[in-house]
């Protein structure tokens, strides 16, 4: 489903990712860890074509990221759900509309949207905040809205970048459960995280990135 073949990415002529080889098969759940500034977010950005690889090949499903035609970018992104590290919520939209946007972008019908959004809001325990604007939410509440937005469209690939940085341990566990459930239903998941609790004793692959280089993997 996801594959990096010798992928390299430069920022300002400095390599941030070096010769990355990694593949995640369909329906797999993989954790990505490593110190701050290692290149985890950059690796995820390549997958949703927010950045393009400078060398090597990166593919997601049938999309080859380095050779996307402009019209393919929206199609790629609609097959992916992303939990952004910096949230990227729209301040001018309510929680409801922020989440609904992910469905509207995918051309879903308004009458379907309502049910789906309220359902996912319940799952992240934010049903009562649906009419709030993001700036009136606590850090952890905002983060759960982002998670809800990424999952509401039931994408075939879910990318989560530090999804529990603002969550307390209990809520983190709850969110982890949501990811496992989605994974059981077939979603391919890649999670970048510093949170050991998230992958400890899961039996999932944990890939370690340091300074732009893959240092091999272990089982969590």
């Amino acid at each position: 489903m996801i594959s990096f073949q010798n992928a390299t990415k430069y920022y300002e002529n400095k390599p941030v990712l070096k010769n990355i080889d990694l593949s995640v098969s369909k329906g797999e759940m993989v954790f990505l860890t490593g110190p701050t500034g290692a290149g985890k977010s950059t690796l995820l950005k390549l997958l949703y074509a927010s950045e393009l690889p400078d060398e090597g090949e990166v593919t997601v499903g049938d999309f080859n990221i380095g050779r996307l035609r402009p019209a393919e970018i929206p199609l790629l992104r609609r097959s992916i759900g992303v939990v952004f590290q910096d949230f990227k919520l729209l301040e001018n939209l309510t929680v409801y509309d922020n989440i609904a946007l992910a469905l509207r972008v995918r051309g879903r019908k308004e009458k379907d949207i309502k049910g789906l959004v309220l359902e996912i809001l319940k799952n992240v325990h934010l049903r009562h905040k649906s009419d709030n604007y993001p700036l009136t939410l606590s850090g952890g509440e905002q983060q759960r809205v982002v998670i809800a937005r990424a999952m509401v469209s039931e994408p075939s690939v879910l990318l989560a970048d530090e999804p529990t940085g603002n969550l307390d341990p209990d809520t983190s566990k709850h969110v982890a459960r949501l990811f496992y459930e989605a994974n059981i239903h077939g979603t391919t998941i890649l999670i970048a995280t510093h949170n050991r609790e998230m992958y400890k004793n899961t039996g999932k692959r944990v890939v370690r990135l340091e300074n732009g280089v893959l240092l091999g993997e272990e089982i969590g």
Partner: protein, 292 residues
């Protein structure tokens, strides 16, 4: 359709959310449309005025004193048939004397010392527009002088010259000014919209990351630009009407030419439409700039 209803809702939502800023943008658009409307009204009226310029030129054919009424009728007939003549007006010597008395006003008693009317009958000719140029007029006058019954032909050569010059120069200038103004207005409107959208750069980028197509992203902005432009146009219409009435009523007192000024109704109707179209085009340019 779903998509359109979403775009419309989004557009009106953000129009209302920042209604003051949007009203200000509308007014900026209105200001620039108003300036162009004022220019268009002025140009339109100048054009009207220049179209009447050739009509102000007359050529006077003085008849010989001895000409009989029948010959006069015959001459008038002949003149009417000339293809460069658009109108004739016969003035008898008595009418001419009365006219002169009226012109002299308070000193008209001078004329009472006359034994006999010393004036000649005459025929005033209006020429077709295209004949009112210096060389054409000269040729015509020479031709007329040779006709039987004609005593003399009088016209002001300078007028014929300037009429032609004015007509062409005003027409050329109007086109140039209109072009400049359209350009400036489009620029101001698109930059107003651009400034507005600029604030939304981050918003647009986020929506793109969620997988929206260019059309999905653009639609609300185009609607917003259109609405802002449309209201700008309505304000400009109101302004243009006020401008017109203040000119024709107040100012015409000391510039009588303004009294004959016309407000083209089309412009009042077209301004909101122009505003709408320019708002949409302005948004297109601006949103295009943000590289979707």
């Amino acid at each position: 359709m779903e998509h359109l209803s979403y775009s419309t809702r989004t557009a009106f939502h953000s129009l209302m959310k920042e209604k003051w800023i949007n009203l200000l943008s509308s007014l900026t658009v209105a200001a620039s449309l108003l300036v162009s409307a004022m220019a268009i009204i002025t140009i339109f009226n100048l054009e009207n005025f220049t179209r009447t310029l050739p009509e102000r030129f007359t050529m006077v054919v003085y008849l010989q004193d001895s000409v009989s009424p029948e010959d006069t009728q015959k001459l008038i007939g002949q003149l009417k048939n000339k293809d460069y003549v658009s109108g004739t007006k016969y003035i008898s010597r008595d009418q001419a004397l009365n006219e002169m008395k009226r012109t002299l006003k308070d000193v008209s008693n001078v004329l009472e010392g006359l034994d006999e009317n010393p004036l000649s009958s005459s025929i005033e000719l209006k020429l077709k527009k295209e004949s009112v140029t210096a060389p054409a007029v000269k040729k015509i006058s020479e031709e007329l002088k040779k006709m039987p019954s004609v005593g003399d032909v009088y016209y002001e050569a300078k007028i014929a010259e300037t009429v032609y010059l004015l007509k062409t120069s005003i027409e050329n200038m109007s086109i140039i000014i209109l072009c400049i103004i359209s350009f400036v207005v489009l620029f101001v409107i698109s930059s107003t919209v651009k400034i507005l959208l600029y604030r939304r750069k981050t918003e647009i980028e986020i929506i793109k990351l969620l997988g929206a197509t260019g059309g999905f992203i653009r639609a609300p902005f185009l609607i917003e630009g259109g609405v802002i432009g449309f209201f700008g146009g309505i304000f400009a219409s109101i302004g243009a009407t006020v401008f017109y009435y203040s000119l024709t009523t107040s100012f015409s007192a000391f510039m009588p030419i303004l009294k004959t000024m016309v407000l083209p109704v089309e412009i009042v109707v077209l301004l909101p439409i122009a505003g709408l179209v320019m708002g949409v085009i302005g948004s297109l340019i601006s949103v295009g700039r943000l590289r979707l």
